[in-house]
């Protein structure tokens, strides 16, 4: 076993696991998902240097292998477990809710109406931009933002309401939500 390489390959894998966990599962910040590329490279490089470190001067004994096992178990728990224990999949209710929102400066449909749907509903929001500048639509926490559209254009986003609770629908272009382009999007439990 090569001590220096042993330590550094474990560090590479550990940094990679933490980065991958942050990018895939943490709800701390959306922008952590950009960490994925380098984290995966760190894990792959670490895993590929590990055998060299372990086997350099003969097979390692069990005691030397225990940190390796620990790091790999941490990896499996952090990255693998959420796949199995994640939130249960919501069965679609079969209803399709069509909503049309018209964006102007600085509100949706003048008054930012509250939208209410039931758990499992498929929601289709069509945004028509009647304003004078670019707008977009996002239901924060339920789906990615739509592409930005110019005045006069329209766009449709579609998602399934998989979580109960009160969410914000906003124009994700910086500044627009603060100026008033945000309303409530409520997902209630299923009635039948």
């Amino acid at each position: 076993m090569d001590r220096g390489m042993y330590i550094s390959s474990h560090l590479l894998i550990l940094f990679g696991i933490i980065g991958t966990w942050l990018s895939l599962y943490s709800n701390i910040s959306d922008s952590f998902k950009e960490l994925a590329g380098v984290s995966i490279l760190l894990i792959v490089l670490g895993l590929m240097t590990l055998p060299v470190a372990l086997l350099k001067n003969g097979p390692p004994n069990l005691k030397q292998l225990s940190p390796t096992a620990g790091v790999l178990i941490i990896g499996v728990i952090l990255i693998g477990l959420p796949i199995f224990t994640g939130p249960p999949r919501v069965v679609e209710s079969g209803r399709i809710i069509n909503i049309t929102l018209i964006s102007t400066e600085w509100a949706f449909n003048q008054t930012n109406p509250t939208i209410q749907v039931e758990l499992g509903d498929r929601v289709r929001i069509t945004l028509i931009n009647n304003g004078t500048i670019t707008h977009s639509i996002e239901v924060v926490g339920l789906g990615p933002p739509s592409p930005k559209i110019n005045p006069g254009e329209n766009i449709t986003i579609e998602f399934v309401a998989t979580k109960e609770g009160t969410f914000d629908y906003i124009c994700p272009i910086p500044g627009h939500a603060e100026f008033g382009m945000h309303g409530k999007f409520i997902v209630t439990s299923r009635t039948k």
Binding site: S8, S29, D30, V38, L41, L42, D168, P174, G175
Partner: protein, 453 residues
């Protein structure tokens, strides 16, 4: 007749080879000694060579990308989109280029810290150390100018960071910015392109001639595995195109690439731009440049030099912390942009200071109290095992056949996946195939070593 002909051709080729080698002896090439190790070595001995290999990979893929890239504000994004979606093998070349750049930076940082902890800068290696640090900074600038060229929202954010930092330099800032970046976006993209493909690589090659030691270790199996790692990472995470920059549409919230987020975190603390973005990183670099002159201890092992080791750990921890913190943006989308981006400077700098203090204390505690005990134990029950790894000839033959078979299957699978537009799977199986190729060369090495006995 036929056999004789073969012999003649063989002799002719051998003569030609000897002739060429004999003439090459007159050149500078034979001043470098390229050592191909006869057994598996720790990669720490040749991390610099691996970095150089990724640099060469980047050069080759970069030239291929340059055939299709158009450095203009209107065509930059669409040309990269064309490379990614239409050009044959474009997506693979672009992903190799992206991940090799990441790998080069990771390996350069790894190389730096290994040399730091093992004290390799001591034995008349000061010049190599200093040129190494300069090459590292140039590598960072090369990566930075490279990923802006796509001109998506992430790239534009980085361009803005760079432009505002250049402008923030007192007195000469504006002149410097107009020389380096020109005026406006159409100039910047061309300037960055020329820096990326000509100026910085040229400087790197010139400085590398002073940096490279005379003995270079080149280990083909490890290089093959490194190539495999880049391809596998590319298959697992193909780099997205991002949203194209449109001057009429305000950008969404993005973060820059991972090697700039540290700088981005420093900038977002809201203290003076010049201090946070130029002075502090420069101090960091100057500290590394001065290490050989601060560290007068004769010992090369890390536990005999607790101060340098502690500062080294602090540097590594600071790089990790600022990098991850730079990715953090308050997810609450209803509050203002400035508020979302703000990092509390008191909290941030206190944590950085705590990291430095904790690393130095931990390093001193280890070298004074813990290390003597451990080494005592180790010397008392040290049993030197002379390990020899032998495989029977038959087993090696079976392994080689199995490895070649798996390699052939993976290559066919990779080509088939590419034809079916499954680029991810194609890249992963290509990477696996390359890794197995490395394993094969390693087996051949074991075999020839056993023959030698």
């Amino acid at each position: 007749m036929g056999e004789k002909g073969h012999k003649n051709i063989g002799k002719l080729l051998a003569d030609l080879y000897n002739w060429v080698i004999d003439r090459l002896r007159r050149t500078v090439l034979f001043g470098i000694r390229l050592v191909i190790p006869k057994k598996l070595l720790s990669i720490h001995g040749f991390l610099g060579m691996l970095t150089l290999v990724t640099f060469i990979i980047l050069g080759v893929t970069g030239v291929l990308l340059a055939f299709y890239y158009k450095p203009s504000i209107t065509q930059a994004y669409t040309s990269v989109k064309l490379i990614n979606n239409e050009v044959e093998f474009g997506i693979i070349i672009r992903n190799i280029h992206y991940h090799a750049a990441n790998a080069m930076l990771i390996l350069a940082i790894y190389h730096l810290f290994y040399q730091l902890f093992s004290g390799k800068y001591k034995v008349r290696n000061e010049v190599i150390w200093i040129t190494g640090i300069i090459t590292g900074v140039l590598t960072f600038l090369e990566a930075y100018t490279g990923y802006d060229l796509i001109l998506n929202e992430r790239g534009v954010l980085a361009i803005n960071i760079g432009a505002s930092l250049t402008n923030s330099v007192p007195i000469i800032g504006r002149t410097l910015a107009s020389i380096l970046l020109g005026f406006g976006f159409s100039d910047i993209i061309l300037h960055f392109y020329i820096f990326h493909i000509l100026v910085i690589p040229l400087l790197m090659i010139i400085i590398l001639t002073i940096h490279l030691p005379r003995n270079l270790i080149f280990d083909p199996p490890v290089v093959a595995v490194l190539g495999g790692a880049i391809l596998i990472a590319a298959g697992l995470y193909p780099v997205p195109l991002g949203e194209g920059f449109n001057p009429n549409i305000p950008p969404g919230i993005t973060v820059p690439e991972w090697y700039i987020t540290g700088l981005y975190a420093l900038l977002r603390t809201g203290i003076d731009k010049f201090v946070a973005g130029v002075l502090l990183p420069t101090l960091f670099i100057v500290y590394f440049l001065l290490i050989p002159f601060i560290d007068k201890n004769k010992s090369m092992s890390w536990h005999d030099r607790p101060l340098i080791t502690g500062l080294g750990i602090a540097g590594l921890a600071q790089i990790a912390l600022t990098t991850v913190w730079g990715f953090y943006i308050n997810p609450n989308k209803v509050i203002g942009l400035a508020e979302r981006l703000a990092i509390d400077p008191i909290q941030f700098y206190i944590i950085l200071a705590i990291i430095i203090a904790a690393s130095i204390i931990a390093s001193y505690v280890y070298s004074i109290y813990i290390h003597p005990k451990i080494s005592q134990n180790r010397t008392s029950n040290k049993t030197v095992k002379n390990f020899k790894f032998t495989i029977s000839e038959r087993a090696i033959t079976a392994l080689v056949i199995a490895a070649i078979a798996i390699q052939v299957i993976l290559t066919i699978y990779s080509i088939n996946s590419y034809a079916n537009k499954l680029y991810n799977i194609s890249m992963i199986s290509m990477g696996a195939s390359l890794t197995i190729f490395g394993f094969l060369i390693h087996l051949a090495r074991i075999f020839s070593a056993q023959e030698g006995d």
